[in-house]
């Protein structure tokens, strides 16, 4: 099934077209292969025995009844796995910062720190009966005191999640520039808020799953993962198997959203058991397992101060982020809130900046990257604060934004806290947004509706994000402290018959790599995207890569593809020049052929060139046979996509229910490779965030029990809650890569929460409501209305059991010191 007009013969011009996806035929007919679709002869199934306690000592484990069953092959506990080479590999060691890292094993050793932690694993022949057998494993626990509130966990009186540290402080980290004290002194107005970005779940519709095999002394892991390459490194370290004997394959992956940017204990266990038992071992999470033990995201509290002169000129931002890390780390969780600090100044020139981050252990599951990963939190803070400040200054929030935007001629923009924004035109994207949104007309409509008791509000956000995760020299060990490189690899292979197989070290889970990359390669090689097969997600298929997350696929992986393709083109030109007796620099790719400039009839098709390369009887002197090139690419900088979003909501003031009635997004991710894919990413990101803002919240009770373990309690938005979207783009190329692209996978999640929140407040200002923290659930909104109206309204909204005042501030408002006291 072709994605291009059959009459086209190939050549330039596929880049930029909204081509249908190459991936789709298998997906719409049920022929795709996800992990759970794979069956291996002799495969065993796993059921995990999980802790019902949030914090407890394991007194005893009795697996005798399970082991007596004829359908059980083995039962493992943590004590059975002492021959593991290492605990969970943690990749963040920032220079000069002490990060406390507890040993985290696939099966608990002696103690549990969160509900759902794996305590034992039953391996048997039948998917249903291993679950029965797991219920026969008897575990005795001695409960320990539990702490779930990250701010309470920082107090001296708090129970320690890990005895060995004597504190729940995970790390303290700071970034800044200018003079914050001077900035505060200089300001005529300083707005202070306690801003909550609550805990959410990635909730990919495909739960996690793995199938591990041990054959011929080699390990193969099929995993529903975003990061097969990183997983191979981790497995090698944890299992003590050399990397060359490990292959990791990400088959069709049913969504990730950061939640599969991870190497989980269950994955490592399946590999361990496959090797021990010499049988294929399979495990697929139930939704409840996925909700409780697939890493969560967000869950931080920011104490923010934003200061300005009376005319709106921003002078300072001072933020302190308290990140709930949960009880154990997986590969990188605590680094995530540091990405919030990168964008804490948003699109604005603020001369004095400080952002402190403190991580906290609690008896909850791990937080790590979820779509946006720190940037939605940072942008939610600055864009909420801008609207709060505008109200304080009695200024139009759009005017306040325009006044402080980094000007379009101010790029590259070096910021006080060390960031260098590559390119931007914030005025341009806001102006484009306002072509779609007539604010004056809206205000008239709003006034009319209010007379009829309809509370409609509009909110805006102008965002910038740090994307294209690379470059190694910044993210890597010497500066940010991630223990790895962040380049990307590609391989472009013209096969003997002239068809093209291109490999990327990035690993898709719905984005459309196969289509977008095929468009890029096809243009450069003079073929059609149908003729280019994109290989990915298999460590055996090409060089070491760094996988997919952080909107890096196109900005980093795409440029690697470009470079590998260009090497093939250069070699092909030498072959053509030799055969046609011309100079290589006179050969061009045109109309599907490599032809001599000015003599289009003197030309060779790619298949003819491939034949010369693979039947190497007449190659230019010194040229190696073959037409197969590899490239590695490590950029000079991040990319910094940006945009302007507007959201219109209706708030039912009787019930507090918020409904999004209109959403307009103008995004700038540089030139489009495939506009269809961009719109899809933007739509999905916005709905992810409408979910976060209005419906979704991972809730633990005071005992650390997860109250949202299913899709009944954790409410993903359905089609019925969502409007159609209006999307538009501006195109400001990035100077960082030759495609000029910036990345778009997370844009919707970054722009949307403050637009929704500002809209809710805009709707409710006539009722005296000035601030509400996320999520804008009916109860929280209704209570804010009642309080503003002075009508009591029952218990106040709480976060983690703490009562908040009308500004969303907890008791003893003010940033806590690293020692846990009040500043």
């Amino acid at each position: 099934m072709s994605i291009v007009d059959e009459t086209r013969t190939g050549g330039n011009g596929f880049v930029g077209q909204a081509l249908k996806r190459k991936e789709d035929p298998r997906l719409i007919t049920g022929r795709a292969t996800y992990v759970d679709d794979m069956v291996m002869a002799g495969q065993l199934h796993v059921a995990f025995v999980r802790s019902p306690e949030a914090h407890a000592r394991i007194v005893s484990i009795d697996a005798s009844a399970a082991l007596e069953r004829g359908d059980v092959e083995a039962v493992f506990t943590g004590e059975d796995m002492t021959d593991m080479a290492a605990p969970c590999v943690f990749f963040w060691k920032p220079p000069g910062v002490d990060v406390r890292v507890p040993d985290h094993w696939p099966l608990a050793r002696g103690k549990v720190g969160y509900v759902g932690q794996c305590v034992a694993a039953v391996v048997g022949t039948d998917k249903y009966s291993v679950v029965d057998a797991a219920e026969q494993v008897v575990v005795e626990y001695e409960p320990l005191p539990v702490v779930v509130d990250p701010e309470a966990a920082l107090e001296d009186s708090s129970p320690a999640v890990h005895d060995e540290f004597g504190t729940n402080n995970v790390f303290e980290w700071s970034i800044g520039g200018g003079d914050v004290e001077a900035g505060l002194a200089e300001a005529d107005v300083v707005v202070e808020r306690r801003i909550v970005n609550h805990r959410t779940a990635g909730a990919a519709i495909e739960p996690r799953g793995v199938l591990a095999t041990w054959q011929a002394d080699r390990l193969t892991l099929y995993s529903s993962t975003q990061i097969p390459h990183i997983a191979r490194v981790v497995l090698s370290i944890q299992l003590g198997i050399s990397e060359d004997r490990i292959r990791v394959v990400a088959p069709e992956v049913g969504g990730g959203f950061g939640s599969k940017l991870q190497v989980y204990g269950e994955e490592v266990f399946a590999c361990y058991a496959a090797r021990k038992l010499n049988r294929p071992v399979k495990w697929v999470a139930t939704r409840s397992e996925d909700m409780s033990t697939t890493h969560h995201g967000r869950d931080n509290i920011t104490y923010a101060k934003l200061g300005a002169k009376r005319d709106g000129t921003l002078t300072v931002i001072d933020a302190k982020v308290i990140q709930d890390c949960g009880s154990y780390h997986l590969i990188e969780g605590p680094v995530i809130p540091t990405f919030a600090s990168c964008v804490i100044t948003g699109c604005y020139q603020i001369p004095n900046v400080k952002c402190d981050v403190v991580g906290v252990f609690t008896n909850k599951f791990t937080t790590d990257a979820i779509r946006g990963a720190g940037r939605p939190e940072g942008i939610h803070v600055i864009e909420t604060m801008i609207d709060q400040l505008a109200a304080e200054l009695d200024m139009d929030p759009l005017e306040l934004r325009r006044k402080n935007f980094i000007p379009a001629d101010g790029f590259p923009a070096a910021l006080p806290h060390g960031m260098v924004y590559d390119s931007g035109n914030y005025q341009g994207s806001l102006a484009k947004l306002l072509e779609h949104v007539d604010v004056e007309a809206f205000r008239r409509e709003q006034a009319e509706l209010r007379e009829r008791g309809v509370y409609r509000g509009i909110g805006f956000s102008t965002y910038v994000e740090i994307c294209g995760l690379a470059p190694s020299r910044v993210l890597g060990p010497p500066v940010w402290g991630l223990q790895g490189g962040y380049f990307e690899s590609a391989l472009v292979r013209v096969l003997p018959t002239g068809s093209v197989a291109a490999y990327t070290g990035t690993s898709p889970h719905g984005q459309g790599h196969e289509t977008g990359f095929a468009q890029i390669v096809a243009d450069r090689l003079g073929v059609t995207p149908d003729q280019v097969e994109i290989m990915h997600g298999d460590t055996a298929a090409g060089p070491f890569g760094k996988d997919t997350y952080g909107s890096r696929t196109l900005a980093v992986g795409g440029e690697a593809i470009v470079r590998a393709t260009d090497k093939v083109v250069e070699k092909a030109k030498r072959i053509v020049a030799h055969k046609l007796e011309a100079a290589p620099e006179d050969i061009e790719v045109r109309d599907g052929k490599f032809s001599v400039k000015g003599s289009p009839d003197k030309a060779m098709a790619l298949a003819d060139i491939a034949a010369e390369a693979y039947i190497p009887t007449d190659l230019p002197e010194g040229l190696e046979p073959g037409l197969d090139e590899t490239a590695f690419y490590d950029p000079e900088n991040f990319t910094w996509p940006f945009g302007a979003h507007a959201c219109v909501v209706d708030v039912d003031v009787e019930t507090g229910k918020v409904k999004v009635v209109r959403y307009v997004a103008v995004d700038d991710c540089g030139p489009a490779i495939n506009p269809l894919l961009i719109d899809g990413q933007v739509h999905g990101g916005i709905v992810h965030t409408i979910g976060q803002a209005l419906y979704e919240q991972v809730v633990y009770d005071a005992e650390g029990q997860l109250a949202t373990g299913t899709f009944v309690d954790y409410a993903l938005p359905s089609a019925a809650e969502i409007p159609m979207f209006e999307t538009d783009r501006t195109e400001t190329p990035s100077p960082v890569n030759t495609l000029g692209v910036k990345g778009v996978g997370e844009a919707g999640t970054i722009g949307a929460t403050p637009a929704i929140g500002n809209a809710v407040i805009d709707a409710l200002r006539p009722l005296g409501v000035t601030f509400i923290n996320l999520p804008y659930t009916p109860m929280r909104v209704w209570q804010a209305i009642q309080e503003a109206q002075g009508s009591g309204g029952g218990p106040r909204p709480t976060e983690q059991g703490r009562e908040l005042d009308e500004q969303g501030r907890g008791p003893g408002f003010g940033p806590t010191t690293p020692e846990g006291g009040q500043l």
Partner: protein, 178 residues
């Protein structure tokens, strides 16, 4: 474990017989017994709809039906929706409208959409959104799914230009404990 019981289910037009545990879910019968892995499992609580198939002409969540309840029924899965090499109009429309990304919810979403169009060949945007509220998608934001169902409806109307009123046959209702 209870004694296996025989079931006979016509799946995608072919009669299939097997002995199954009484607790076996229809979705696992389709996936594991018959190897029809196009039908997916996304939750344990009948919220996500990834497992939607047609049973006796009606969309059902196959994680909420026991294989023994399907005994004697006709079941259509995503693998049986098109005819031969030709895609069903809803499949065609999902492809053309970019109504899928990771594809995991897609078979269920397509089966639910096809069911909607059987019952209501010309649904409004709001009718489409409400008809699909039992099918969750985390990738697309639903925008392009709604567009795809609208365009499949329009394609269907164009294909059925002849204005002949055919009375709809009575619809079977799956019965529990059959």
């Amino acid at each position: 474990m209870a004694e296996p019981v025989p079931v006979s289910v016509t799946v995608n037009g072919r009669r299939r017989e097997a002995k199954v545990e009484p607790r076996l879910l229809l979705v696992h019968f389709l996936r594991n017994t018959l190897g029809l892995t196009g039908t997916h499992v996304g939750c344990d609580t009948s919220n996500c709809g990834a497992c939607t198939v047609h049973m006796d002409g009606m969309a059902v969540k196959s994680c909420t039906v026991l294989a023994v309840q399907a005994d004697g029924s006709e079941v259509t899965t995503i693998e049986g929706l098109g005819t031969g090499d030709a895609l069903h109009p809803v499949q065609e429309a999902f492809w053309a409208s970019h109504a899928l990304q990771c594809g995991y919810c897609t078979p269920g979403m397509i089966m639910a959409s096809a069911d909607l169009l059987e019952r209501n060949p010309d649904p409004s945007e709001s009718e489409i959104r409400h008809a699909l509220e039992g099918n969750l998608c985390r990738c697309t934001g639903y925008h392009n799914i709604v567009k795809a169902v609208r365009s499949a409806a329009e394609a269907g109307r164009a294909a059925e230009a002849a204005p002949i009123e055919v009375p709809e046959p009575p619809r079977a209702t799956p019965q529990a404990g059959r």
